[in-house]
Symmetry: C2
Subunit: 204 residues, 2 copies
């Protein structure tokens, strides 16, 4: 293995690999070849080998990859060790659905606090989390919370993002249909449902 700049696309695929590997582990499968994993996940075997080769020589020639080890290594690459607390901003329909979403746990994320600006919601419990006033976002710094999920309307999203950044948050999962301006050190991943939807008719 030599030094290579790691393609963004590779990082995007790692969680897919991880899911497939986890499934194999749950089936008690010890070892897997790139071809087998490829068929399962509908990507190419070469792609899988190249992707992992950017990070090290994880496989054994003539044999394949050890499932358990590869999971560990992939999780390490993705920095998924341990559970991280995250803040959810916006306790509307989407926010509430996200609170119940089981996928967060799998990737080591736990929503530990919810913020909303609607005074009738503040103080209430939903799914075990207490809704706090959006003005208290600044307290995230004290609590050491570095990740946040934005599930507020587009108009409010930039303002919320600014507050989160000021409170020391450095990773944001944004569900608002809005580009967020943030400092370079902060990573934003936007999931824009309407936008994905908008290109569906084109293909059919």
């Amino acid at each position: 293995m030599k030094y290579h700049k790691i393609p963004d696309e590779t990082v995007r695929r790692l969680p897919i690999y991880l899911r497939g590997l986890q499934y194999l582990l749950d089936k008690s499968q010890k070892s897997v070849s790139s071809v087998e994993l490829a068929e399962f996940l509908h990507v190419s075997a070469t792609q899988i080998r190249k992707d992992f080769s950017y990070f090290g020589d994880f496989g054994i020639r003539g044999v394949g990859y050890n499932v358990e080890t590869l999971i560990k290594q992939t999780r390490e690459i993705l920095k998924l060790g341990g559970t991280r607390g995250a803040a959810l901003v916006g306790a509307g329909n989407l926010g509430t659905a996200l609170l119940a979403y089981p996928g967060f746990g799998t990737y080591g994320l736990e929503i530990v606090v919810v913020f909303d600006n609607n005074s009738t919601k503040i103080g209430k419990q939903i799914d075990g989390a207490k809704i706090e006033d959006i003005g208290k976002i600044s307290e995230l710094k004290k609590r050491g919370i570095k990740l946040a999920i934005i599930a507020v309307p587009a108009e409010a999203a930039q303002d919320v993002a600014d507050k989160l950044v000021a409170a020391g948050v450095n990773g944001i999962l944004n569900f608002a249909p809005q580009f967020l301006s943030v400092p370079k050190k902060v990573k934003v991943i936007t999931i824009d449902i309407a936008m994905e939807l908008g290109r569906l008719p084109y293909y059919i």
Copy 2:
């Protein structure tokens, strides 16, 4: 304008452009240059010009693009004319949140029927839509519904997809963390929240 194969990435960006243009129209702005639109949407001006140039000569040299006309042309490219009925499968947390999501209307989609397999939910109304038994998916053919949104657990997703395809659906927006095998003529767009989440820690 000459013939060019249209990059997938271009199609992916068109809804972004559309959103920006719609915003400008709402502000009663008549004309926009590629540079102005680019700053606004945080993409490059060259990119915007090249993207639109695949479809025709929409701009006026020395002037820019007419906002209203460009919206019309973009919507036409994306085949967003008129409203299409869509079926939602899964009336859980996510499904319920999607029912209330305002973005669908913008892109000409209207959820006209909801399916679930939970007998306690069947027959109930949520957000103006009646929940029907998942066994009735086959009736979509009669009703001419061609688009569907899958918001069920991963284990059930492939089965639901098969049923939808059998009922003549040719476009699926899939929220289940699962690759769906469908015939080539059917377009699937998957939005996998956990997967996006899984690569966030890597970048921070």
